[in-house]
Amino acid sequence: AEDNAEYALWLGDDSLILAQRLSWWISRAPEMEEDVALGNIALDLLGHARSFLTYASKQWGKTEDELAYWREEEEFRNLRLTEQPNGGFGETIARQLYFAVYQELLYTRLVQSTDSTIAAISAKALKEVAYHVDHATQWCLRLGMGTDESARRLQHALNLMWPYVGELFQDEPLNERIAAAGIGPLPSSLREEWDQRVSAVIEESELQVPQAKAAMAHSRAGDHSEHLGYLLAEMQVLARKHPGASW
């Protein structure tokens, strides 16, 4: 059960940190329809995060908010991709494409998890994630085939986010135990299908699949990029000024 909780924490942290990033766009998107669309995606992710963190927190006799607001940077388990800065709209879309396809493949497998809570959360989330994939795909096509400038910008963004893709498929010792127990897939087992699907979108968008190698990363052990500290300072500042308060 410790493993299940830790695994749920990983899943929850990915969605929480990405939701925190995406929510910045609400009131700043390139069109008002996108304030709504990116807001929806952020809300969906925050919903997944809350479900997973609530599940994890019970194991440790805590609450979702204790996990979100009172852990230190090195206790967070989210992947580096999710903590990358929003950059411009192109960077956000590139990050969305990579992450949403990953999450869809992952949740598709988790629906069959031997952990019935994880299976149930994933089943509910899967419908939402299908929309996230579609949203990112449509924007890739529009930007890739829109204007020369938009193609150039999206290509740059795809390249920029690529070094953080490798980590999505990195098998950790916990993953081995999770896979052995039938709770979830080995990350590496998702790579091939991810490559096919993402390459197909990028190629249909008339852009190049990036070639860069993966950046060294070990986020599941709490080893983060320089970006996460700033994100957490902002996210946690108010809650930490009022220890023990209810909201």
Binding site: S27, R28, D35, V36, F89, S150, E234, G244, W247
Partner: protein, 311 residues
């Protein structure tokens, strides 16, 4: 003048005007102005609350706040659509906003300085908005009325959420309760001013009431509102920053303190604490997003050309 006769008859019967119907130019202009201002208020109104999304103190509150601010974008979209049925283009309306030529509710030019402000905005600002908007669901211009029905449904939900935020704070730690009181103190007078100048200083209202766009005078609405919050504040266990506030049995009216209409006009004119910031944020989002909108338009054009070639 068959058109005018039909229009007058519909108004007289308290019926609804549809976009295809004839309508007087002034009616159209008044509506375009009002509906677009209303849309702008929704869009600019996202900013003060969005200011607390990243720092919301619990995940539940964060989710509720994100949904709320996102709803406001949706309201803006319905309202721009309603204005478009009157022949105004969204681009021209957005441009007027960014260039500082259009108005929006002056309350959004005050900063949200602390978390409790999100509660105060929900309770007082959305509360005042609903008071204004419920009668607009019956506005003579049908698309506006229909948009308001959707908007009001969500707004009343938002108001309840704002009230709940304040209630939690008021029942929380001393620091939380002080924060709630301080927010109510700051937003009380600006919220009362949301109904606009006193009736004797509001020359356009009469025509709008004759056209059945407006149904109640500014002061009438303000009366109802202040009566409502005077009751609700007791439930919160907070106070309103208005020692003069009382119900006068003789006139059957609420007496409240004098409002600072000089400040109100000054904020309307662009000199509030955040006017420049709000417009700059909107301008920046619009300008930074230009390449994205251009790409989407170019892609759509290419796709439709491709479709035609296939056909």
């Amino acid at each position: 003048d068959e058109g005018r006769a039909a229009f007058d008859a519909i108004i007289a019967a308290d019926g609804r005007i549809e976009p295809r119907d004839w309508m007087p130019d002034d009616y159209r202009k008044t509506l375009i102005r009002q509906v677009s201002q209303h849309a702008h208020s929704e869009i600019i109104g996202m900013q003060p609350e969005a200011n607390w999304i990243s720092r919301a103190p619990s995940l539940k509150r964060k989710a509720i706040l994100m949904a709320k601010v996102q709803d406001e974008a949706g309201h803006g979209l319905y309202l721009y659509s309603a204005a478009e049925t009157l022949g105004a283009s969204r681009d021209s309306m957005v441009e007027a906003l960014i260039e500082g030529k259009a108005k929006y509710s002056s309350i959004f030019n005050y900063p949200t300085k602390q978390w409790a402000d999100v509660g105060a905005i929900g309770w007082l600002v959305d509360g005042a908005a609903i008071m204004n908007q419920v009668p607009l669901c019956r506005a003579s211009y049908a698309p506006y009325g229909r948009a308001m029905v959707r908007v009001c449904k969500e707004e009343s939900f938002h108001q309840r959420q704002g009230f709940e935020i304040l209630l939690s704070l008021a029942n929380g730690t001393p620091a939380q309760k002080a924060m709630a009181q301080e927010a109510v103190d700051r937003f009380y007078a600006p919220a009362l001013m949301m109904f606009g100048p006193p009736d004797d200083a509001s020359p356009n209202s009469t025509q709008s009431m004759e056209w059945h766009i407006k149904r109640f005078s500014n002061d009438d609405l303000r009366q109802r509102f202040v009566g409502m919050i005077a009751e609700q504040v007791k439930v919160l266990g907070l106070t309103l920053p208005d020692p003069e506030l009382r119900f006068d049995e003789d006139s059957k009216k609420w007496i409240h303190k004098e409002l600072d209409w000089v400040e109100f006009m000054d904020v309307i004119k662009g000199n509030g604490p955040c006017n420049a910031q709000r417009l700059e944020r909107r301008r920046e989002a619009h300008e930074d997003g230009a390449w994205v909108r251009e790409a989407a338009a170019a892609y759509a054009a290419k796709q439709s050309k491709k479709m035609q070639e296939i056909a």
